[in-house]
Symmetry: C2
Subunit: 283 residues, 2 copies
Amino acid sequence: MQIDFSDCSVPGCGDPDAAIGVFDSGVGGLTVLQELRRLLPQENLIYLGDTARVPYGTKSAETVQKYACEAAAFLVGKRVKMVVVACNTASSVALDLLREQLPVPVIGVIEPGASGAIRVSRSGIVGVIGTEGTVASDAYPQALRALNPEVQVYSAPCPLFVPLAEEGWAQHQIAALAAQEYLAPLLAASIDTLVLGCTHYPLLKPTLKQLLPTKVELVDSAWETAQMVWQILQAGGMLNRTSSGEWQFFVTDVPRRFVRVGGAFLGADLAAVERVRLASASV
Amino acid sequence: MQIDFSDCSVPGCGDPDAAIGVFDSGVGGLTVLQELRRLLPQENLIYLGDTARVPYGTKSAETVQKYACEAAAFLVGKRVKMVVVACNTASSVALDLLREQLPVPVIGVIEPGASGAIRVSRSGIVGVIGTEGTVASDAYPQALRALNPEVQVYSAPCPLFVPLAEEGWAQHQIAALAAQEYLAPLLAASIDTLVLGCTHYPLLKPTLKQLLPTKVELVDSAWETAQMVWQILQAGGMLNRTSSGEWQFFVTDVPRRFVRVGGAFLGADLAAVERVRLASASV
């Protein structure tokens, strides 16, 4: 797979004032954006939601790789200094490909989530929930075992959690029942840590906390990712110290639904959202 | 929007032995295919699921129109004698466009569903459930009022029904709870007829029947559409009387998930499914 960078001969790499680029298939990545905003209020942020092709979680690795390359190329064209893949599915299957090809650092949500889980787990028995694509990719178990070869990982896809979050039913009895179904095998395995391996899932935290024994710690990849972005920028002397933090939003379908659903995810109004077309990546 | 028919200079129009082309965003349209198969076992059927971009129901009219044109152009390239838009969202927003441009008859699922509802309703108070896109398009109320200007229509989007059906939870307690939420305003309006305005919803029939008062009739657009296809082919002398009925399946993402989930929708194994790329329609 090749990305066409002909439009971006001068990427923002090396310029602390350049924006951080963030992409997701839709609104989910806004939970990552929110954590970045909290932790790094001076950074300029450019967010792209590929809403014409959302979701990625039920699609094949090959198709998600193509979409992720197209999204990342758009952000590099905006001269960002870093690309954050704020989507677990895309992070699971496309991170290596993006790192090979992009002229700026690429941060996914899997490694930060795995790192957080290894840090908090006492028993070394970790549960991971995510989309079908994320779970099928085996990316979390691999990342966890890279950090601790002894770790035991139990994964469960939770396909209903995304539509429940988008419907505004994350704390409805229906969400509790679905969570009960999905988590039963993980609880039977005595996990003491649960990784929220999908950017939509932080909205289900209250429901999950009610269901889980108090000993089970929730690891929120969005929060962990923001920490890692901060560390990497700081280590490279790339923190923005002059800006008041602007954000820009782009989507690939008409913005109406993104504005409506995304507002709830971000806890803020999404005023100016622009529709764009992505150039096609050759596969 | 323009469709490129340069690859299909000799469409199947006029040839009774040509196949019927059927498309949907994913597996949902297989409920329509199944009804066609039951009613017209001698017809050859070509099915296209646009699984790289599924679902259509949450996307804008403009984006769905583009996708529908690309799907229809693929089928016409296969020299079909008729195109069945086995997707309520695409039928809602793209049917006129397709009819203007395609060289073969185009049948959607809205008009047959509306016609069925007008036939069975005694009170003239009709409920319609569908995706966000279908409900927002106002296509069912318009089609119903065209047949009976006095009809009262109450619509409700049911976004959770599609993932519930695909999860195999169409008859789970969660589906019953979701149905209760969604149908409450329709029941309060005393509907006596409920149109299943999404090709996934026939899988929820048992759950809906348990919830609805016995006086409420369910109208299944898939079944109604098959009836209409039969009538139109018969009227035009276009029924296939020589074939034993072959079917072919094409998808735009890798077939694995389509084969797994689609098998349950069709009640049969999906053996040979081929992945294809659709040519881009200019907008």
